[in-house]
C-alpha cells in the first residue's frame, strides 16, 4: 500500500531530479519532479503528495520558503530537506518550519529510503476545526509526536480530504461554520470506516446532548477545550495502538 505513495522531488539540478526519480520509481513510488519552487507549487495544487524531498538552496525560491507555502496547500506532506551546507542554523530553521528531517548532500540513499518508509507509516490524522490557530498548534504538537496531520476548517474541505485519504484518526469539532460536527462524523463512518473519531468541543454544557449522541453512535472519545494536552495525546496514542494490528 505504501509503495504507491507519491513523492515530489524538487532540486534545481536537473540530473539530481532525474536520479532520485529513477531510484524512487524503481522501488515503486510515484514520483514527480520540479526544478524550482514555482513549478513545485503548481504540482502541489494538483496533487497532495505524501512526501516532498526539497533542496534547500535553489534560485528564485529556496526550499524553506517553498515548504512554508506547500504546507498551506497540503498540510499532510512530510518534508525531507536536503542541503549541501553542513550548517546547523539552516537545519534548525528548516525543522522549526515543520520539515521532518534535514539530510546532508550527497544523500545517503539507504537512509533516505528508510526515512521515506518510516514517514509513510506515520498515522494520518484529520483535524476538522474552524479555528486556524488551534489547528496550527495541533499540527505542531501532533507532528512532533510522529503523526501526519491534515487540516480542514469546514465541512466541504473535510469531505474532500476524507475522499482522498485513509485516516487513522479524525478529530471533529462539534461546532462548525455550517452546522454541528455530526454530519462530518457520519461522513467519516461512510468513507473512512477504519478511522477512529475523537469529538472536540469547547461547549461542555450546551453541546452535551450532541456529544453524547455521537459517542453513542460510535465516536471513540471526547476531548474538551481548552485541551488537557497530555490527555489528548494519550487518547490519540491509545487509538493508534488499537488500530495498528489492522493495518
Amino acid at each position: 500500500m505504501t509503495h504507491s505513495a507519491s513523492i515530489l522531488v524538487v532540486d534545481d539540478e536537473a540530473d539530481t531530479c532525474r536520479n532520485l526519480s529513477d531510484i524512487l520509481t524503481d522501488v515503486g513510488y510515484q514520483v514527480d519532479t520540479a526544478l524550482d519552487g514555482f513549478a513545485a507549487l503548481k504540482l502541489v495544487r494538483q496533487k497532495c503528495y505524501d512526501i516532498a524531498l526539497l533542496d534547500l538552496k535553489m534560485p528564485g525560491m529556496d526550499g524553506l520558503t517553498l515548504y512554508r507555502q506547500l504546507r498551506k496547500i497540503c498540510s499532510k506532506t512530510v518534508a525531507l530537506v536536503v542541503t549541501a551546507y553542513a550548517n546547523e542554523a539552516t537545519a534548525e530553521e528548516a525543522l522549526a518550519a515543520g520539515a521532518w528531517q534535514v539530510l546532508p548532500k550527497p544523500v545517503d540513499l539507504e537512509r533516505l529510503l528508510c526515512l521515506v518508509e518510516e514517514a509513510l507509516n506515520q498515522p494520518l490524522v484529520l483535524i476538522v476545526d474552524d479555528d486556524p490557530d488551534l489547528c496550527a498548534n495541533l499540527w505542531d504538537l501532533l507532528r512532533e509526536r510522529g503523526y501526519r496531520v491534515v487540516i480542514a476548517h469546514e465541512e466541504d474541505e473535510a469531505a474532500h480530504h476524507l475522499q482522498e485519504h485513509a485516516f487513522s484518526i479524525v478529530l471533529i469539532d462539534m461546532k462548525l461554520p455550517r452546522g454541528d460536527g455530526s454530519q462530518v462524523f457520519q461522513r467519516v463512518r461512510q468513507s473512512n470506516p477504519q478511522a477512529h473519531t475523537v469529538v472536540i468541543t469547547g461547549h461542555r454544557v450546551e453541546l452535551d446532548p450532541l456529544v453524547q449522541r455521537v459517542l453513542a453512535e460510535g465516536a471513540d472519545a471526547v476531548c474538551y477545550k481548552p485541551f488537557d494536552v497530555p490527555h489528548l495525546l494519550s487518547t490519540l496514542q491509545r487509538l493508534t495502538e488499537r488500530s495498528r494490528p489492522q493495518s
Binding site: D15, T16, I23
Partner: protein, 393 residues
C-alpha cells in the same frame, strides 16, 4: 622575531632615550634602598590590577595564581635593578608582551599597572634617599628611562604577537570560506554521481538505455567537479600579464561571441572607431569582459538591455558594462568583488574577484555602481598606449 633583531631594536631605543653605562650603574646602586619595599610595591601593583574587571578576568587561577605572579614580578624587579641589560634581559621582557597576548591581557592594563609601579618606586626613592639631591634626580631619570625601555619592548612584543595571531586567524577564516564555497560546488556533482551509482547498483531491472544514461551522467558530473578545481587553481595562479596594445572593440566582440546573449537581452554597443588601443593583456581582458557580460545577463532573468559604452578619460579609457537587471543591494555592494562571495545560488563566487584581480594586474581598475531594481554598471579602466594626459585625475 629573533632575539638578535629584538636586541638591536633595544639598543637603538637605548640610544634614543640617552641610556648610558652611567645610567645602569645608578639604577644598580638603588638595590639596597628599594629591596626592603619590594613586597609592598608588588602588593600595590596587584591591587591595581584587581581594580580593573577586564584585567582581573585574565587571572583565572585565583589566589594561588596571584602568588605565582607576584613571584614573577619580584624576579622582574630584581632584574630591573640588576644593572645588567643584556640579550637575556631583553628576551625576558619580550616574553612578557608575548605572554600577555597569550592570556588576553590588553596592553592598556600593562601601561596602567606599570605607571602605578613607577610611582611607587619613585616614592620609595624620595622617602628613603639620604644622599645628594642632584644624585637623586639623576637616579630617578635613569630609572624612568629603564622603565620606558622595558615598556617599549613589552609593547612591541605585544603588538607583534597580536598581529601575528590576527593574521593566523584571518587565514583560518579564509580557509573556512574557501571550504564552504567548494563544498557546495562539489557536493552537487557528487550527489548526482552518488545517486547514479546507487541506481546502477540497486535498480531492479534497468534497461540498457537507462544504464547508459546514468553512466554518461556520472562522466558529465566528474567533469563538472574537475572544473570547480580548475577554476580555483586558475584563480590561485593567475599568470603575469603580457601587456600589448590591442583594439578594445575587437576584444569586446570576441567576448560577446563566446557568451551569446539570451534572446530577451538587447545589446547596445558604443565603441568609437577613433578610440586608441588599450595597453593590457588581451587574453586576460577578454576574461574580464566575458565575466561582466555573463553577470549582466544573469542579473536580467526577465530580459533587458546590456549597454557597453567606451570613452576616453585622462590617462586611458573606460568601458561601462551596464545592465537593466535586478541590481545589487547597497549592503552587498562592497563585497561583490571579494573572492568566494556570491549572491547567486550557483557558482564559486570567483567571477568578479578574478575580473578585478586581472584588471589591477594590468594597471587598470574596476568599480561598480548599482541601484536595486534598476541595474548595475561595472566600469573597467584600462591604460592606453598614448594617453591624452600623463596623469589620471
Amino acid at each position: 622575531m629573533n632575539i638578535e633583531d629584538i636586541y638591536r631594536r633595544y639598543q637603538e631605543l637605548q640610544v634614543w632615550v640617552g641610556w648610558t653605562e652611567e645610567s645602569a650603574r645608578r639604577v644598580a646602586a638603588t638595590v639596597e634602598l628599594i629591596t626592603p619595599h619590594l613586597v609592598a610595591l608588588i602588593d600595590d601593583f596587584y591591587d591595581e590590577i584587581g581594580r580593573h574587571p577586564n584585567a582581573r578576568k585574565v587571572i583565572t587561577g585565583g589566589q594561588a595564581q596571584i602568588e605565582r605572579l607576584k613571584g614573577t614580578l619580584r624576579q622582574w624587579l630584581r632584574e630591573l635593578l640588576s644593572g645588567r641589560y643584556d640579550r637575556d634581559y631583553v628576551a625576558r621582557r619580550w616574553q612578557v608582551g608575548w605572554r600577555h597576548v597569550e592570556i588576553g591581557l590588553e596592553q592598556v592594563y600593562t601601561n596602567a599597572a606599570l605607571s602605578r609601579l613607577r610611582i611607587g618606586l619613585m616614592r620609595v626613592l624620595h622617602e628613603n634617599w639620604s644622599g645628594d639631591q642632584r644624585d637623586l634626580q639623576e637616579t630617578v631619570r635613569a630609572l624612568n628611562k629603564l622603565l620606558d625601555l622595558d615598556l617599549a619592548i613589552i609593547e612591541d612584543a605585544y603588538q607583534y604577537e597580536y598581529a601575528a595571531r590576527l593574521q593566523r586567524s584571518e587565514r583560518l577564516a579564509a580557509i573556512g570560506q574557501v571550504a564552504g564555497g567548494v563544498a557546495h560546488e562539489l557536493r552537487n556533482p557528487l550527489n548526482v554521481i552518488k545517486t547514479s551509482v546507487y541506481f546502477l547498483l540497486n535498480a531492479h531491472n534497468p534497461s540498457s538505455e537507462k544504464r547508459a544514461e546514468h553512466l554518461q551522467r556520472i562522466e558529465r558530473h566528474v567533469s563538472l567537479a574537475d572544473g570547480v578545481i580548475t577554476a580555483l587553481s586558475n584563480f590561485a595562479k593567475m599568470p603575469a600579464p603580457k601587456r600589448m596594445p590591442f583594439a578594445v572593440e575587437q576584444c569586446l566582440r570576441e567576448a560577446l561571441e563566446t557568451n551569446p546573449l539570451p534572446e530577451t537581452v538587447q545589446l547596445a554597443l558604443d565603441c568609437p572607431a577613433s578610440l586608441s588601443p588599450a595597453l593590457a593583456d588581451i587574453d586576460q581582458v577578454r576574461i574580464v569582459f566575458a565575466n561582466l557580460i555573463r553577470n549582466a545577463c544573469e542579473a536580467m532573468p526577465q530580459g533587458g538591455q546590456l549597454s557597453v559604452t567606451t570613452r576616453v578619460v585622462s590617462g586611458g579609457m573606460e568601458i561601462d558594462v551596464a545592465d537593466t537587471g535586478t541590481g545589487i543591494p547597497p549592503e552587498y555592494l562592497s563585497r561583490v568583488m571579494e573572492p568566494l562571495y556570491s549572491t547567486k545560488t550557483r557558482g564559486l563566487g570567483l567571477g568578479l574577484s578574478i575580473a578585478r584581480a586581472i584588471v589591477e594586474k594590468n594597471g587598470g581598475s574596476l568599480r561598480v555602481v548599482s541601484k536595486p531594481g534598476k541595474g548595475s554598471t561595472f566600469t573597467v579602466f584600462l591604460q592606453t598606449e598614448h594617453p591624452q594626459e600623463t596623469h589620471r585625475l
